[in-house]
Symmetry: C2
Subunit: 405 residues, 2 copies
């Protein structure tokens, strides 16, 4: 049995009218004898509504109960979609995470999928039913309801694709696919026909925001082909593939910009083993996510460590560092929240030198100063002044010939 997985996000099922449209699309696949498992998110902003209901009652609700509450959002949309399919004469059956037995760990509100039982789905598919599965949710071994964190429906879909050895996992969203850059900021951004898992991961974590990172990690691990496409049109979207299936390896696949980060510098701190560990352990304790890190040794064996943190965590970061500096009796803290991180991502960089140089040169030519540089195998990131962020992104997009004609 050839199985196709489809996932429809909250915007695609935001109201009765859109649910009917999704049902019509599903019917067109069902009419072609394709065995379908459809994963659905909660309708539009219904999850937000549930969150604010909880906030009226508890400022820090127990996570188990939060999962009990939030999982109702998807349960509403799966039942409505099954009804819409029945209305079109398509036999359909909805399933909660618990009914499919999507087993997760016990980490409420951010659980990880451990195992999926496929018997019940396969039986329903054999009976000619379209299976509608609630995304974002699972159960732990004691049948407590768990959720996978924001965007978790993507992970549900990819995990189901892996468990059912599906041909492909189509992720329907409100954009046409994955672009070389944010089309709202870069009018000349092009839709990519293919992208590798690693590139997608770098772009997702950099805020491209089309796919949930964990779903891409899952897809990479189990070699699931993801097809990101629009639920409003029928045009082909972007395939997210293993690197060896990418036909044309672009030097740079996409550029991205992060504007909600701040830069922190710790200058003149003692140069002895463990100093960096002390700094980042303190921040980890407060669950502050550090992104770019640069360290260098200066004169008199005094060190400088610079890094970026989310701007909202700047105050917490300052407090932690101030106490460290007083413990050491040395060090000077500089904070700057007027920065942006511009990055270029591409698997072609692995085999081509000069990408970084090209990027620095283009920025220099436009008079944009670089404060920090960080590179990985497939990514180059530069920290620059926030005011130049979007200009820098467009320049890099153009320099690496990503602009549409």
């Amino acid at each position: 049995m050839q199985i196709l997985i489809q996932k429809y996000g909250g915007t695609s099922v935001a109201d009765a009218e859109r649910i009917r449209k999704v049902a019509a699309r599903i019917k067109s696949y069902h009419d072609r004898q394709i065995s379908l498992v459809v994963v659905v998110s909660a309708m539009g902003h219904s999850t937000d509504a549930l969150v604010s209901l909880a906030a009226q009652i508890h400022d820090s609700p127990p996570k188990r109960e939060m999962d009990m509450l939030l999982s109702t959002g998807e349960q509403v949309s799966i039942s409505l979609l099954a009804m819409a399919l029945d209305k079109l004469g398509v036999p359909a059956k909805s399933f909660t995470g618990s009914q499919v037995n999507i087993l997760t760990d016990k980490n409420h509100t951010n659980a990880r999928i451990e195992k999926i039982e496929t018997d019940r789905l396969i039986e329903s598919l054999k009976n000619g039913h379209v299976c509608i599965v609630a995304g974002f949710q699972g159960v732990d071994e004691e049948r407590n309801i768990t959720t996978l964190g924001r965007g978790g429906s993507d992970t549900s879909a990819v995990a189901l694709a892996a468990a059912l050895s599906a041909k492909e996992c189509e992720i329907f969203t409100d954009v046409e696919g994955v672009y070389t850059g944010d089309p709202n900021k870069i009018p000349k951004a092009r839709k990519l026909s293919q992208i590798s898992y690693d590139e997608m991961l770098e772009l997702a974590s950099l805020g491209a925001g089309v796919l949930h990172s964990r779903s891409v990690e899952f897809a990479k691990k189990y070699n699931v082909v993801i097809h990101v496409r629009s639920s409003f049109t029928f045009s082909e979207g972007t395939l997210v593939l293993p690197e060896d299936q990418i036909m044309e390896k672009l030097l740079v696949t996409g550029v991205s910009l992060k504007k909600d980060e701040a830069r922190v510098s710790l200058a003149d701190i003692p140069d002895r083993p463990g100093i960096a560990a002390e700094v980042f352990e303190r921040l980890a304790e407060k669950k502050i996510n550090v992104d770019v890190i640069v360290q260098s040794t200066g004169k008199n064996n005094l060190n400088t460590i610079s890094f970026t943190v989310p701007a909202k965590d700047l105050k917490d970061t300052e407090e932690s560092l101030t106490s460290l500096v007083s413990t050491w009796g040395a060090g000077e803290i500089t904070l700057d929240d007027k920065i942006a991180i511009v990055s270029a991502v591409g698997i072609g960089m692995k085999s081509h030198a000069g990408v970084a140089a090209g990027m620095f040169k283009a920025l220099a030519k436009a008079g944009i100063n670089i404060h920090m540089i960080s590179t990985s195998e497939i990514k180059i990131s530069c920290v620059i002044d926030k005011e130049h962020g979007e200009e820098a992104m467009r320049i890099i997009h153009s320099v690496f010939e990503l602009d549409a004609n």
Copy 2:
């Protein structure tokens, strides 16, 4: 372990403020070391909202999917109540029907409870948790979600009380208890301190509307004591008890009035076996509920059957009967939707003669004509003109000395 079951209806948990109040009440029991299992309905009119959402998509939604949809209402309220308890420092855990394993038959939207597993609840109670259970819902043996029909949360509560051998089942509602008559219609109506299951069943089916009939049948079968009381005050309500525990057996416990019925007469029909069966089978096929039935034989061996049906089914009833009459080649149909049924209920009637006579006399004295009479061991019903309905109810209430001083 002494266990108490409490059930809070939709009005009691209609918003965050009321949920906090319910939590405060539960805390007062928990502080007294009482082991509590709390059954909750969906918030306010949230079930209606879900029904109208479904109606936007399907005029006759598959019942399995309807249950999937509607069961989310209770899942929202149990999680919010558990959060509110946590906020007050009371350890609480919410459970869906599926998690408790409230096993029902497969009759979606109107399922019957077959078995309840108590292991998980007892374990939680032993750990000092208040258990919050979603009312109205269960699962069939294949773990499809089922619902028990409107008012089914009462049944959930009583069934849990039976399964857990609980001391009592408190049903919290927006009235103070069970009254001798509708307080909105009879200003002198009194709150009863006790009522028997059978009286409650007659009053519930007559529209007193405080308790779901099926819950009372369940309570009678398993000898569960129900305490109907207000969630807005702390005063004692009404105990629904086995007849042998009723201290003072009133001649008449309550009076009720039904105004949404119509009277149907079939005159001059053949007097042969099976005629009545033919009539009521036809109506049963159309799921028309017949209430009072009176049959008499007149001159020339021609029969008259009179009965009442819900006024909304009058047209369907007329169609069925017209076709029957043409088959028989005999019979005359008379319809009257300007009627009311006034009833007096009381287990004291079993041992006292003259109750019916007293009722007829009181109505006659007020110049109210009786069209039909029907009696059972503990109930007398009279069909009268609708315009006299409320007056008749007040007269009977007064004649049997139910008026408050």
